[in-house]
Each structure stands twice: as C-alpha cells, then as structure tokens.
Symmetry: C4
Subunit: 384 residues, 4 copies
Amino acid sequence: MNVDSAVTLADLERLARRRLPRPVFDLVEGAAGDEVTAQRNLAAYRGLTLRPRSLAEVGTRSLATTVLGQDVSMPVMLAPTGAGRLLHRTAELAVAGAAADAGTVYMQSTVSAFGFEEVSAAARGTAWVQLYLPPTDADTRALVRRVADAGYRGLAVTVDTPVLGNRERDSRNGLLNLPMWHPRALAQGLSRPLWGLEFLRGNVSLGPAPQKGRRSSLADTRTTIANAHRAVTRHDLEVVRAAWDGPLLVKGIMRHDEVDDLVDLGVDGIVVSNHGGRQLDGVAGTIDVLPAVVAAAAGRAEVFVDGGIRRGTDVVKALALGARGVFVGRPYLYGLAAGGRHGVARALDILRAELDKAMALVGAPTVDDIDASLVEVRVPQPAG
Amino acid sequence: MNVDSAVTLADLERLARRRLPRPVFDLVEGAAGDEVTAQRNLAAYRGLTLRPRSLAEVGTRSLATTVLGQDVSMPVMLAPTGAGRLLHRTAELAVAGAAADAGTVYMQSTVSAFGFEEVSAAARGTAWVQLYLPPTDADTRALVRRVADAGYRGLAVTVDTPVLGNRERDSRNGLLNLPMWHPRALAQGLSRPLWGLEFLRGNVSLGPAPQKGRRSSLADTRTTIANAHRAVTRHDLEVVRAAWDGPLLVKGIMRHDEVDDLVDLGVDGIVVSNHGGRQLDGVAGTIDVLPAVVAAAAGRAEVFVDGGIRRGTDVVKALALGARGVFVGRPYLYGLAAGGRHGVARALDILRAELDKAMALVGAPTVDDIDASLVEVRVPQPAG
Amino acid sequence: MNVDSAVTLADLERLARRRLPRPVFDLVEGAAGDEVTAQRNLAAYRGLTLRPRSLAEVGTRSLATTVLGQDVSMPVMLAPTGAGRLLHRTAELAVAGAAADAGTVYMQSTVSAFGFEEVSAAARGTAWVQLYLPPTDADTRALVRRVADAGYRGLAVTVDTPVLGNRERDSRNGLLNLPMWHPRALAQGLSRPLWGLEFLRGNVSLGPAPQKGRRSSLADTRTTIANAHRAVTRHDLEVVRAAWDGPLLVKGIMRHDEVDDLVDLGVDGIVVSNHGGRQLDGVAGTIDVLPAVVAAAAGRAEVFVDGGIRRGTDVVKALALGARGVFVGRPYLYGLAAGGRHGVARALDILRAELDKAMALVGAPTVDDIDASLVEVRVPQPAG
Amino acid sequence: MNVDSAVTLADLERLARRRLPRPVFDLVEGAAGDEVTAQRNLAAYRGLTLRPRSLAEVGTRSLATTVLGQDVSMPVMLAPTGAGRLLHRTAELAVAGAAADAGTVYMQSTVSAFGFEEVSAAARGTAWVQLYLPPTDADTRALVRRVADAGYRGLAVTVDTPVLGNRERDSRNGLLNLPMWHPRALAQGLSRPLWGLEFLRGNVSLGPAPQKGRRSSLADTRTTIANAHRAVTRHDLEVVRAAWDGPLLVKGIMRHDEVDDLVDLGVDGIVVSNHGGRQLDGVAGTIDVLPAVVAAAAGRAEVFVDGGIRRGTDVVKALALGARGVFVGRPYLYGLAAGGRHGVARALDILRAELDKAMALVGAPTVDDIDASLVEVRVPQPAG
C-alpha cells in the first residue's frame, strides 16, 4: 500500500505508523493521561446514527460552503498542529499548499517550523492562524499585527492550554528532551532510515538563528511550546479583539454556558475542541457537547468542531448537529508523514470523496440540506 | 460438516467461507465503511427480549400468512442480491426454485445472471422483482412492462442507491475490476479449486452476447451494477406506479417521517432496509427503526424488514414489532455457496424449523398470535 | 484442587469440567440457541448493586425461613434437572440426600434415573416434585396420585416446554443419540476414564426393565424427555389443582401479566424461570423480570426465581427484589459431577457460607431483614 | 523504571508487582468475591466527564484546604490499610512520615505493625486514627483514651466490617495461614529475594512480645485482624462519641438514607467507602453514591470518599461532586512496596502534580473553585 492506493484515512495512519520512529508516531497519536478523551472523540461518532432521506434529488451535489464569510470547497478544514517538522521536512508549507489547492482553510499553529509570512504565502492568502498569546499585552498586539500583515484571514485564540497536558507517551519516550546525538535518539532514527535522512535534511543546518521567512530550529520550537502554555483570560481576548479586525475565533470551548460571554467579547467563531484529547483527559467527546454549544450560540457565532473525525459520515453528523464546518488534525498529519504535500492532498481527497458519497446517501445535495433530521443521538457510549 | 448436517445459519456461513475464495466471500459478507451498521443490524436483535406467553394452545402451529395478498408458507422471504453468479453457477435459478418449493417469495434483483423471464419461470409465478430504474421514463415504463409480462407478482423500487456504497473490502480485494486471467484472480480461484471449476463452468462461454432467457456475462453484470446507482425521485415512483398494476413496494426506507408521502404515492409495501449495511455506514439497525415506521403506516401499507435476521426468534421479534414479513439475504447466499439450490433450501428449512419452535415457545400458534406483548425493547446497545 | 478445597461454585464448575467428557459437560453447561439468555441470567445480577445498611445488629444471623409453609434452613433450594445420571451414578439419590441433610428443598424432575418413591425417601419427606404432564387427564391424575403417595410436599408444573429448546451443543455433540458402543462415545468415555468407569457402573445392567424403586435405563430417560415436551394449558392446571391438595407451583413464568390468571387457577407458588436459558433464547434474565412478577402477585402467591445464581450476594439480591427463595441448578450439578453427594453438600455449604457473610455485610441478621432498600436496579446491561 | 522515573501511579503499581511475591501483591490488589466492586470503583470515574471552564485566572494555583478544621496542603489523604508490614519493613512509620512531609493526613489503621504512639509521633501530630472497636465498652473507652493521649487529631470508626470479606485471592494463596518456614512461603520469598531479605529484617526477632512503641509480631497482626471484625452499632458510636472530644468520622457508609442518623449521633465526618471493594462485592462504586450522601449531609458533616482514585482528575471529580477530600489506599501502598517512605512520597508527589495540572486545565485556581459545574454524570457504566 502507498499513499495513492490508500482507501481510507486509517490506511494513511498505517502508512504513517510504518514510516515514523515510534516516539514520533506517538507524538502525533498520543494524548493526555489514559487517553480516554481521545478515544471518546472517536467513539462518540459511533453513538450517532444517520437517518437517510430518500427520494432526494441528489444526482448532482455541491460540497461548497462558507466559513466566517470565506468560500471553501468543502466544510472540512485543517486544524493547527505543531509536530509537522518531525513528520516531513516541508512541514507547514506542504500543509498550507495542499489546503490551498483543495480550496479549504488551513489554520496554522503558532508552533511552526516556518515563519507566518512564508506559510501564509504558501496558502495563497486563504489561511487562518492560531495564536498562543505571549506574556504581555504589547507583545500580543505586535503578534496580531504581524499575522494581519502576513495576510491571515482568520485568527483563533486557543484557551485550553494554561499548562501543557500530561502527554505520558512523550514523557516515557523522552522525545523532546533528548539531543539529536543521544544514542537512543540515533537508534530511533536508524530504525526508520528513510525518515532519518529526511529529518536530517530538514533539521540540521550550519547557519545563524532563524529569521522571518527562515525555518526555525528544533530548539526554537521547544521554546515556543514552553511559552505557549499560559492561561488566557477575558482581558487577553479583549486585547486581541481590539487589535484584530478580521474574524476572531476561540478554540477549546467545551461548555455551552460560556457562549454568551464569548459573543459579548465579540467572538465570531467558536471551535468546540478538547485539543484532540491532548490537554485534559476525562473531558467528553467534542461531538457530545456540540449541540448544546450550537443552541447557545443561536446563530450569533459560527460553531466549529474538531476531534475524532475520520469519515465523511462524521462530517455529515457534525454538520447535522449544527457545526458550520469541521477541523481535522491527525488525519492530515498521517498524510504528511506518509507522503508530504501529496499525502496531505490524499487525505483531503479521501475525505472529500467520502463526504460527497455520504451526502448523496443521506439525501443532501448541498451542505445546506444537511439538517438536524439526518442524525439521531442515541444512548451515549461509555468512554473507556 | 456439510449442508445437511448444518444446524444453524451460522453453520452455512462457515461452509460458505470454506468454499469461497476470500474476495468472493467478502463480497457477500462485507458492508460499507467500518461496517458498523452491518454489525448493528445483528446486534440490535440481541437488544430485544422476548416475553413468552405461557399456557397457550401451541400443540399445533401454522406459519402460513399472506404478504400483499399473496399466500406464503411462512413470513420469511428472500431478499434481492446481486452476487449469486459468483457463488454458484445456477445463481438466481436455484434461489427462485428453492423459494417456490418452500412456498415463499423470492424478490429477484435487477442485477442477475439470468433473465427476468427465466427466473420468474423458475419461481413458478411466485416471485417479486426489485428494480434499479433506468435513466429515462420511457425505459422505466418498458422495464416495468417487461417484468409484468414475465409474471412477477410484486415490484419493489430500491431507493437507497443514488451512488454505490463504500465497500472497502471490495476496493482492497479489487475483485470486480480484475480480469479473470489476472494472476491474482487466478491464484484466488486456485485456492478454492472446487469453486474455481464451478465458476468456469458458469462464466466462460464462447457464444454471442446474452439474450432474453440467456445467461448474462460478468461484463454485463458490471454494466448493470454501474447503471444501477442513481437517485430515485418522487417522479420516478409516479412513473412506476402508473405503469404497474400489481403491489408496489419501496425498499430502503429508514425514516418514519417518509411514510405519509409513500402512501400518498400509492405504495403498498415498505421494506425497512439499510441494504444490509452496504450503502451508508452509520445508519441504525433496521429493527431499531421498524416500530416507528409501522406506527406511521398505521395499516395503510404493509411493512417489511430486512437485515440481521439469523434466527427464528429474530423473525418473531420483527413480527411482534409490526413487520408483515421479513427478508433474508446473506443467509440464503451462504446456502447457495455451500450447496446451490439444495443449500438455499437448507437455509429455508433451518429458518422454518427455528421459527416454528420459537412460535411454540413464545406461545403463538399462528402468525397472527405474534403480538406486541411478546417483545420488549430494552436499552439500545452501542453500535460498535 | 478438590471438592473440599473448592472456595467458590466456580471452583466446583472447574472440577466438573475436568472430570466430565466434553459432551456431558456441555449438556449441563449449554443452553438454547446463541446462549444469550443463559449469559444474561448471570450478567443481570451484576447490573444490580447492593446498598449495605450500617450499624445493624448482625452479630448473630439466622438464614432460616419458610417456603410455602415448609421450614428450610436457608432460602436456597435445588432446582429440577434431568442430567444427573450422566454425572454421577447416585444421581437424584445423592441430591435428595444432600438437600435433606442441608435442611432445604430438592425439587425432583420427572426426568430421573430413580423412581419417585426412592428419591422421596432419600429426601426424608422434604422434597418437592416437578412434573412434565402426560398426554391425558387420566394419566395426569394418576401421576399426581403417585407423587402424593410418594410423600412429596410440593408439586410444580413446568409450563415452558411445549417443545424442546434448540440445544445446539447437544445437536453437535450428538450425545443422546449415540449408542454407548459407538466409537465416538467410547472415545469420549475413555478421555475421562474415571467418569467412564463410574458411568458403566451406573448404566450397564443385565436385569429386566426398571420398576418402581428401580433405576430406569438411559433409553427410558430418552423416552421421558421426548414425552416431556408438550404444551400445558389452563385445563391441565385445573386437572392438577383438582387432584393435588398440597402446595402447587407453576415453573417457567416470565410475564407479570400472567400472574392474576395463575392466582385464579389456585396456584400457590410461581417460579420465575427461563429454564436456565435452555428453552427459548432471547428471553430476559430472570432477575430482570422478577420485581414485576412480585408486584403482580401482591402476596397472593409466593414467588421464586432460578437462573444465574452463583453467589450468596445473588441470593440477597433476589430476596431483596421480592423472591421468597431461589433455586439453583447447574451449581449443584457441578458438585454432583465433582464428588457425588459430598459435592452437592459442598455446593450448598459454599452458598450457605456466602449467604451468611452477605447478610452480615448488608446488615440483615435474618431473612426477613432483606428488604427492597438493600438493592438498586441500575441501567440494564446489554445481553450479548 | 524506578520510583523516581515513575510517571503515574500505574507505574508505581507495576514496580510493586515486580518487587512483591505474588501472594503479597494479591493481598494489596485483591478484593472480595468477583472483584466487581473493586473494578467498579475505578470504572465509575471514567463515567464522569469533566467540563473545563475557560478564561479562568489559573496562572497560580493553591491546592491547600482544610479537613475537619485541620490545614492540609492538598485534599488527598492516606487511607488506613493493614498490610504495610508485608510491603516494607518501615510500614506505618514510613507512611506517617511521608504524609507529614507532604502536609496531609494519614489515617492510621488499628491493624498496624507499630504502636499508635510511635506512628503518631512519626506523623508529627497530624495523623488521624481508624479504630476497629474491641468487644466491650470499657475496652473501647480505654482505646479511645489511648489514641487521644497519643495525639491523634481525628478518629474514624469503621462500620463495614462485621465479618471479614471474601478475599478469594488470599484464600487461594493461603498467605496469612502459612507459617513463615512453610516450603511454599519460602519459595515465594525466594522468588523475590530483595523483598525476602527486607521481610526477614522486619519480622524476625528474638525479643519478647511487643510493647508500646515496639513493633508487633505477625502473630499479633493476625489476632488483631481476627478481632477487628464485629458489628458496630449505634450504641458503640455513642460510647466513642462520649469518650472522644475531637472530630469523629464514620467510615464505610454507602447509603444516603443513613446520614441523618449519623449526624444525630454527633458524627463530624462521613467517609463514603466500600473498603476498596474488599468487604461486600456487588456494592456500587463509591463515586456513584457520593452525590446523594453529600446532598443528605447538607453541610452538617464533611463528606470524604475513598476507592478508585488513581488520577488528579479523579480528585477533581470527587470534589466537584461534593467531597471535602479524598483518601487513597492502594496507590501509596504501591509506593511503599516500591520504595518505602520515598515511594510513598513519590505517590503523593504524582497525585499533587496531577491535581495541580487538572485544576489549571478545568479552570479552578483553588480548591474552592472546584464546583459542581465542572463535572457531568453520564450514563452509569455496567459494573462487569
């Protein structure tokens, strides 16, 4: 099997598992604590049943829609992730390019091997950006100005990372703390020589510290990650809102009773997210809480969801429950690991084809036809 | 174990698995996507508990009933399936003959190795037919006239196939796309030499293209399957209804809120079906939604169900929940693969004996005695 | 491990499994169809949680109670079973003796290696009898007279056996149909030589046909089983009631809506039973339906339950839900197989010790203190 | 892996399993009967989902709180356990010292290798004591006086031990009944030589019977355990209440309908506990019943909970459902077995770090901020 013969996202996952040293695969696949929430994200979709509409005119379909006013070819977008550089030398550039080619949004993470400007250019002006806020208001304003100048069309503030989650696979693997020349790190690299060579090409350089438009070093990434984790408050959101004219999203909401506040703060979009189960273990699956958040938003903000989407039918379920669109993370990282930009494109192709088929089979020729009648919430499944 | 010593349908399945090359078995057994719905069809019956009535006069029982006015010896009928020719040379002829012998209805599929006329004759005028509609109204009318002339007594339009479901086992096996002389296909055939010889007898001929009453080629079958998948609309049903005087069924309904429309369109029978889980994965089990459909029909149409029936007790459950009769698909295909017409007969014998015993044990001497008090819907089970 | 070092009934089961040829063990352990009901009987107890009462005066406990006016040393009785002769030469005599020693009731089955009179004597006048009714009223009256004369103190009519359940393990093993000198039967016997010798001692004789007080042959047993299965009607119960002055029980009730009728017919005791899952697969666990039957009886009849009891805590649960007493079947058969009368006694000792401990720990010094507050019905578990 | 590189309590458990002879590990890990309740204690936490609050000011956190008026550095305390001496020579002294170092409460068990006075001193006056009551009121009063003199600040009476639970692993292992020089015991010791040496250092002495401040012998422990099990009544509690001026707790409550009585008896604290599943199998998980007990207490008594806590998030869940604090048992015993006092400290460090992280991630900077909105009770999971 290779990227082109992969039939499902699970196939791409298998390819990624084969290609990556175990600690790197774990970095992508792993989650916090006992990984109950990560599993629940997946399982929750199985607890939802579809109610296909018959006799619908589905001979031709359109997957196009808009998200916060921006046209996309389908309601599937790419979530911010920070591990790209460990999967493929081209990292965020590959992802941004593939997303632009596919006509959808890539939300770039603050943790990135390449500079904002370079990635935004690769996305040809379609990307959004996700910010971990720096310590001071002044720095925050400067950062917002920088991403505005770089051409991002949407800005999301992540609010579920006051501290880093308990990623126990990473603690055990010791991945981010080992220097590259540590025997264990070397052994890992040699266990997957193709990956090892690629990694060396991407991460060993003799030049000076990274600048705008240059690739950051692994050490920079570690610093960024360390800084990323601080509590975001109402004040922070006010600062960002004042500094940013475009669509503003908050990412990491799991409670419907917080929606009024967010709307009052001028938030345009809410991403229901538990960080892929990577921050707080024991949280519900995102799709479990989506309906209440949608009800609370009552059209005043667009609601998005990430976590657990692996099938076109999952997208239909999320939209039927009120999401304006969905974000996928691990799925495109599997593609990135398996085949760089081409692999990311393959992941998007698979999802698009599955979504198209699912829409035909549920009797929804357009995204607007995906209504609440198409899904039934059954008894919630246990998490473990 | 052989066909005659098979005690249950599961035994016949085991025999079929042993006899068929894996890709052919997968074609029968497989379903769409993660096969959650296919499993749910089966599991849903386990979530229903029987409430046997004691002190009933069950010393003698009768399984006979009527379906859309037609006498049958038991409320178990044979669902349309398209893979018969890969299982046994005699394909639909065997099935039709066994059904007629058993005094029940075989609903023949449009996808068939043998012509309508020949199969109808083999069924001695008791068969129903399932139609995938051709592209134009005129063709539809012609097709309806042809099946009327051929003597079918019931006609069902399948409405859950606007596109072909994601049958991922088939995608991976590459079954339908490999020419017969491809080394992988040859190897598969040689792995089950008895099957291989039988297949060659049935599918290799030197003659011209198939005609009425002649066997169609595999290539024809592929064409039929490709054409089969198009959206069926209200208009299409109106065309069929106008052209067909006999009982009209719609197959593939999973929503009770569509029943009024169907009754208005003049439909006589509704088959609650998710296509054996082969079209849209993530749909509920058919028995889960049957009661609401029956309630909506309120006697204006007869309601049938297929999917997941493997036991006589399953038939009792379905009838207790309001089905007029049930259709089985895979069970008789297992029989067909294991022993041709004799195997189909064995499958029906097993079901009949089990149904008879189940009726005795629940205290229902006749089909009419199977009332709603005999079953209790317990907490739905998770799908996965 | 041996009978004396067995700590739990599960230990006795393990001993029995080790001692018996597989087909004989299957005869005891097996059930109808997919054995869903047999498993449900067990699982249903796990869905019930105990609510121990604290600060109770449980320094001394008494397990004694009465069942239909008869004193018993504990509310655990022995259910009728027909396979004893295959497990141990002493069969029902051993069971009756152990029950009498333990001060509890053995309900003897019609299917028995020894005559009614002999077994009743072995039980020293404490036993009850379970009847499969013969074909005619006259025969029924004669049979009732015979068991009355034999000294039985209670009489139960089994109503869930209009036909024999689908015991598929037995069908596959072919146990009851093989003559003893069949090579397969011989091989089975030789696989467990201790059992084989014992079996020969008990079942091979050169004498004439069995008479009153003599052991019946295996062939007789087969005949009895075949005759056992017929529908029991209201008329039959009227005949028995008229002929029998003592306490009358009906065994095999699973519906609360049948209780009024039974009370009207003069029934004194109702045994909620699904025949250990051996008759109709797909029925609820007995403990699931017990509370509704108890409520319907409203004190007009005593309600008993069998099926799935393997622990002292199970007895507490059943009594807390309103059972007057419980019957166990397989548990004492494990003991019988493992060690004859001594093994049966061990099974009863284990249950008595566990029940005593459970009563202490739930805060119930006497059987009357086991009230509804001690158990909570949680969400029903899936059956499979 | 060693104590210092252990990342989770599960790691400490693995270390303990490796270090201890199997019967000793089983003594700690095992529970009553089928261990359904012990498993339920753990599983019940998985059925609770967290609802993290965003935009909270969690930059700095404080885990400090008070329990019955006593300051603790975190709401995690150490439950009484009796097996310490088999795990590490220093037993309760190590536990008391580590608890005092950590600024939390150790509730010492009556079953203890060291005398009350010595352990209380090791805890530097912060410990609580758990009493099994002696047979007479006079002895009870004397015992209370002794522990008061020894400086304990809280006193708990255990009410769920009228008899010893069915610890079947122990029955099978025969642990407590074998003399130390029995070949099987010797073999066990030799299978874990490090443990064996340590055990010999701690348990073999040539001196006289233990006195105040001296280590008791294994034989003493057996006697204490045997005496420990008797029913505690209202009268007993009245005696203790009259004799003890400090905070009085009752440990082992599982029913909310007993709270009024306990409050009337002058109880200050209630420990919801099922004895770690070691007494009565079939009881609910403690966290399942906590909310009702808290509601019944209505602030008149502080409510604590033990059983199943293995994660910082579990502590958050318990507090969100109304617990004032939690007790852990097995977790610190794993630490004790793995590394004595240092191992106990490690267990507490892990829990503290996890709790701190969990509080940050749920948006609760202080213990008082952990409110009911942070947790959602989902459908209860089956117990088995």
